[in-house]
C-alpha cells in the first residue's frame, strides 16, 4: 500500500496547488469580462461626461470613505448628508462657505439687500452648465419652484418658508400657483428674492443644495430618469460626476470649464462607500484611502497618530423633561437631575468618540453672532455638574413631593445611547440618594413616536440643525410646536423671547435678536431646567496628512470642493 501513497500524495498536492492556480487565473478572464459588466458603466461614462483634456491637470486623486451610501443626486429630493455632500461637488449655489462658515460669492458674483432686509438681488457670475449653456436666473427660479411644488413632495421644501420666502408655505400647500413664489428672474443674470421677514442666515443657506439651480430644458428632456446616473445629469459646479457604482464608489472629476476653476484642487475625488470601518481603516493604513471615519474605541487608539482629526457635528443630545409628569413639574427635582449629570465625563470616558460635554442647548460652532462671536461664547456655559447641589435639590424635592421618586429614562437601543443612559442612571442614584431610575430601551423610530406623544418621563433624544442659526433649536421648544416639543415645555416668557427674535420686533435687529436667543436659552436650561443638555456629538476621523482643505461645517454641508494634496 505504501508504494502508491507517496505518489498520490504528491499528485494531490500538485493538483491542489494547480487548483489554487487555476482559480486565480480563472478569476482573471472572468474579471476582464466584469470590467465590461459591473464596472463598465462607470468606465463608459467617463469619456462622455468628461470635458476635453484638462489644461493644468495635476493627476491627483483623493479617496474618501463614507459609512452611509449615496441616496440620490437629485438635490430637490435629497435628505441625507452624504447625498448633499456629493451634490455640492458637481452643483454650486449662489454662495459658498469659507472655513469659518461665512458666505462667499459663488454663482452669484455679488448681491444687494434692500434696507428693510426683505429683498435680495443676486447678480450672477458668468458660469455655464456642463453642456455649455449659461447658468441663468431662470435656472434658480425653476429650481426653487420645483423644490416648493407639492407634486415634488420634497422633504426640504420647508426650508423656503424658514427663510421667509414670500408665499413659500402657500405654494407648498397647493393654495397658490408656483409663479407666486417670491423668487423672480429680473433678467438672465439678475435674481430677485423677496421675503416676508428679514433672515440673518439666508446668504449662508444659499450654499445648501436645496437652493441649487436646475436647468429646465435638460430636466424636462430626462423625464423620470433625471439624476439617476451621470448621463442623466448636467453640472454647474467645480466637478462632474463621472462614475456611479451604487453601493461602492462615486467618482467626481474636475471641470476645466468651471468659471471658478481651482488649478490646485485635486483632479479626482472618489467617495467610497464602506460600512465596515475596521477594513476601511486597514485600507487607510495601507495608503489606499485618504479620509476615513473612526468609531468607538478606534478613536482612543488613533488619537495621537498624525492625521487624526476631530470635527464637531451640530448634533446635540439632551433630555427634554416631560413636564406633563406630576413629579417632574417640581423644579427642585429637575434641578437635581441637571446638576447630577457629569457631561464632561460622559464625553471623555463613556463615549470616547470625540464628543464634548454640552455647555448649553445650542451646540458649539453652530452659529456666529453679529459680533462675530460663536453663540456659545456669547451665551457662556449654562450647564453645571455639582453633586453637592444635586443632593441638596433632591432633598428639597423629596420633602416637597412627600417621599422618594422613581423615574423612567427612555433611550434608543444604540450602543452610545445605552452607555450614556446607564451612566446617567448610576450617577443620579449616587448623587440623589433615594432617587430610583429605571431604564427603558426602545428602537429609535419607536422612541421618537413615544416621546412625541409624551409617553415617557425622562428620555434621551437629539436634534441636528437645518441651518447655521440658533433658531433651528429655539423653534423646537415653543409651546406651539407640537411635533418637536416632546416635553411640552410651556413658558410664555420663552415663547415671547423666541418669537420676538424670529418673527417679532427684534427680527430686523441682529444684535437684539441674538440677545433674545441667549436669554431664551438661559431661561429654558438654567432657570426652568426643562431641557437638560448632555453632549454634542463629535466626528473623529483620520485624514491623510498630505491632504488638506476639507472644510467641515457643523450646520451645513461639508466641503470637499477644494481639496489639496501634496
Amino acid at each position: 500500500m505504501l508504494d502508491f501513497k507517496k505518489p498520490i500524495c504528491l499528485a494531490l498536492a500538485a493538483v491542489m496547488l494547480a487548483g489554487c492556480g487555476t482559480d486565480t487565473s480563472a478569476g482573471t478572464p472572468a474579471a476582464t469580462a466584469d470590467t465590461s459588466g459591473t464596472a463598465a458603466p462607470a468606465a463608459a461614462e467617463t469619456p462622455a461626461a468628461q470635458p476635453e483634456a484638462t489644461s493644468g491637470a495635476n493627476g491627483k486623486e483623493v479617496i474618501v470613505a463614507f459609512d452611509a451610501d449615496l441616496n440620490t443626486m437629485d438635490h430637490h429630493i435629497a435628505t441625507d448628508g452624504n447625498s448633499f455632500i456629493m451634490q455640492s461637488m458637481c452643483y454650486s449655489g449662489l454662495t459658498s462657505l469659507d472655513e469659518a462658515g461665512t458666505p462667499l460669492p459663488e454663482l452669484a458674483k455679488s448681491w444687494d439687500v434692500s434696507e428693510d432686509g426683505l429683498t435680495y438681488t443676486f447678480h450672477l457670475a458668468d458660469a455655464t452648465w456642463s453642456n455649455g449653456t449659461p447658468v441663468t436666473a431662470n435656472d434658480f427660479v425653476y429650481g426653487w419652484q420645483r423644490l416648493d411644488a407639492p407634486e415634488t413632495a420634497s422633504e426640504y421644501a420647508f426650508i423656503l418658508d424658514t427663510i421667509h420666502v414670500v408665499n413659500a408655505a402657500e405654494v407648498n400647500a397647493g393654495e397658490k400657483p408656483l409663479e407666486e413664489l417670491g423668487v423672480k428672474a429680473v433678467d438672465d443674470k439678475t435674481l430677485e428674492v423677496t421675503l416676508t421677514l428679514p433672515c440673518d442666515f439666508l446668504l449662508g443657506l444659499m450654499s445648501f443644495p436645496s437652493f441649487f439651480p436646475l436647468n429646465k430644458e435638460f430636466f424636462e428632456s430626462q423625464g423620470d430618469q433625471f439624476a439617476l446616473s451621470p448621463e442623466n445629469m448636467i453640472y454647474c459646479g467645480p466637478y462632474n460626476m463621472t462614475g456611479w457604482e451604487q453601493g461602492n464608489a462615486y467618482t467626481f472629476t474636475k471641470r476645466a470649464d468651471y468659471f471658478n476653476y481651482d488649478p490646485d484642487a485635486v483632479d479626482t475625488v472618489i467617495f467610497r462607500f464602506q460600512q465596515d470601518t475596521q477594513s476601511a481603516l486597514l485600507e487607510y493604513q495601507s495608503g489606499n484611502i485618504d479620509v476615513v471615519k473612526l468609531q468607538g474605541e478606534q478613536v482612543d487608539q488613533y488619537k495621537s497618530e498624525p492625521g487624526f482629526t476631530n470635527r464637531l457635528t451640530g448634533y446635540m443630545w439632551y433630555i427634554p423633561v416631560n413636564m406633563t409628569v406630576p413629579a417632574l413639574q417640581n423644579l427642585n427635582l429637575r434641578k437635581a437631575i441637571h446638576y447630577a449629570i457629569d457631561r464632561d465625563t460622559i464625553a471623555k470616558d463613556v463615549l470616547m468618540d470625540g464628543s464634548i460635554g454640552a455647555e448649553g442647548e445650542i451646540p458649539v460652532e453652530l452659529a456666529t453672532g453679529p459680533d462675530g462671536k460663536d453663540f456659545r461664547a456669547s451665551a457662556g456655559k449654562i450647564t453645571e455638574f455639582d453633586p453637592a447641589k444635586a443632593a441638596e435639590f433632591y432633598a428639597k424635592a423629596k420633602e416637597e413631593l412627600g417621599g422618594d421618586v422613581t423615574l423612567e429614562l427612555m433611550f434608543e437601543d444604540s450602543e452610545a445611547s445605552k452607555a450614556v443612559a446607564e451612566f446617567v442612571q448610576a450617577k443620579l442614584k449616587e448623587y440623589c440618594p433615594g432617587l430610583e431610575i429605571n431604564l427603558n430601551s426602545k428602537p429609535k423610530k419607536e422612541r421618537l413616536a413615544l416621546m412625541k406623544e409624551q409617553k415617557y418621563e425622562l428620555g434621551i433624544t437629539r436634534w441636528g440643525p437645518d441651518y447655521a442659526d440658533p433658531q433651528t433649536y429655539m423653534d423646537l421648544f415653543l409651546s406651539t410646536n407640537v411635533a418637536n416639543n416632546q416635553g411640552r415645555y410651556n413658558s410664555a416668557k420663552y415663547d415671547e423671547l423666541v418669537l420676538k427674535g424670529t418673527t417679532g420686533e427684534d427680527a430686523t435687529d441682529s444684535a437684539k435678536r441674538w440677545a433674545d436667543f441667549v436669554e431664551a436659552e438661559r431661561l429654558m436650561v438654567a432657570e426652568d431646567f426643562a431641557i437638560i443638555p448632555i453632549y454634542q456629538t463629535g466626528g473623529a476621523m483620520m485624514i491623510n496628512p498630505d491632504v488638506s482643505n476639507i472644510n467641515f461645517h457643523s450646520a451645513s454641508v461639508d466641503d470637499y470642493r477644494h481639496i489639496y494634496k501634496k
Partner: protein
Amino acid sequence: MSKYITKRVLISLATLVVIVFVLFLMLDKMPGSPFNDEKLTETQRALLYAKYGLDQPFFVRFFKYLSAMLRGDLGVSYVLNKNKAVSELVRGPLLLSIRIGAMAMLLGSVLGLLLGIAAALNHNTWIDTLCSFISIIGVSVPSYVFALLLAYWIGFVLKLTPILYNSRNVAASLILPTIALAMFPTANVSRFTRSEMIDVLNSEYILLVEAKGVRQSSLIFKHALRNTLIPIITIMGPILVNLLTGSMVVEKVFGIPGIGMLMVQAITNNDYNVVIACAFVYSAMYIAMMLIVDILYGIIDPRIRVAKGSA
C-alpha cells in the same frame, strides 16, 4: 420523468408567490416606513405616500405589484438611488454576488474533494488528522472571522491583494472574499467526501476491483470517487444557503456592492421594493437550487422519482 419535473416546477412557482405575499405582509406590518424622518411633516408624508401609491389598501398594492412583477417591473427604489427602477438597481449587485458565490462554490468543492480524498486514502494518519482539523476549523469558524483575518494578514500585512473591492481591479479584489466564502463549502465537502470515500473503499465491489488488478488511479477516480460523489449532491443545498447568508457579512467586510449588501442597506432604510426584490432573489436562488437537486436525485435514483411523482 417529465410529469415529475413539471410538478416540482409548479410547486416551486407557487412557493415563490407565497414568499412575495409574506414579504409584502411583513413589510406592511413592520414599524416605520421609507418616509419616517423626524423632520417630515404629516402633509409631506401624505404627499409621498400618494406619490408612490402607498396610501392604497394592502391587497390593491399587492396585486398591482404582482402583476407588474410578471411584466418584469419591480417598482422604483424609495431610498437607495431614489426613483431608480429596482430591476436595474438589483442587476449589477446580483451578477457580482453570483459570480463570487460560484467561484467560492467551485473552489470549495474542488479543495474539499481533494482534502477528503487525501484524508480517506490516508485514513488514520497525520494527513487525515490535518484534513479533519482544516475541515473542523472551516465549519466552526464563521466566515466573517476568516474575512477579517484574510483582510488583515493577506491584504494589510503582506499586501498581496487589495482589502476593499475596487472596480478598477476586480479580479484581485475578489480573491479574498472568494477564499473567505469558500471555507465553509471546503470543510463540508471534505468531511462528507472523507466519510463516503472510506465507506466506499471498504465496500466489497472495491475489493473485487482491487482483486481484478485495476490500476490504483483508475480504482480511485473511476470506481470509488464516482460512487462517493452521488451523496455529496445532498449537501449542496445547505452549502448554498450558507453561501447566501455568509455573503452578506463577507460583502460588508470587503465592501463588495453585491446583493447581500444591497439587501442589508435596503432593510435599514425600509426601502420596501428593494427589500422585496432582494429577498425574492435569495428565495428564488434557493428554490432553484433545491429544484435542481430534486431533479438530479430523480435522474440518479429512479426510486425517488417514482415515489414522489406518484405521491
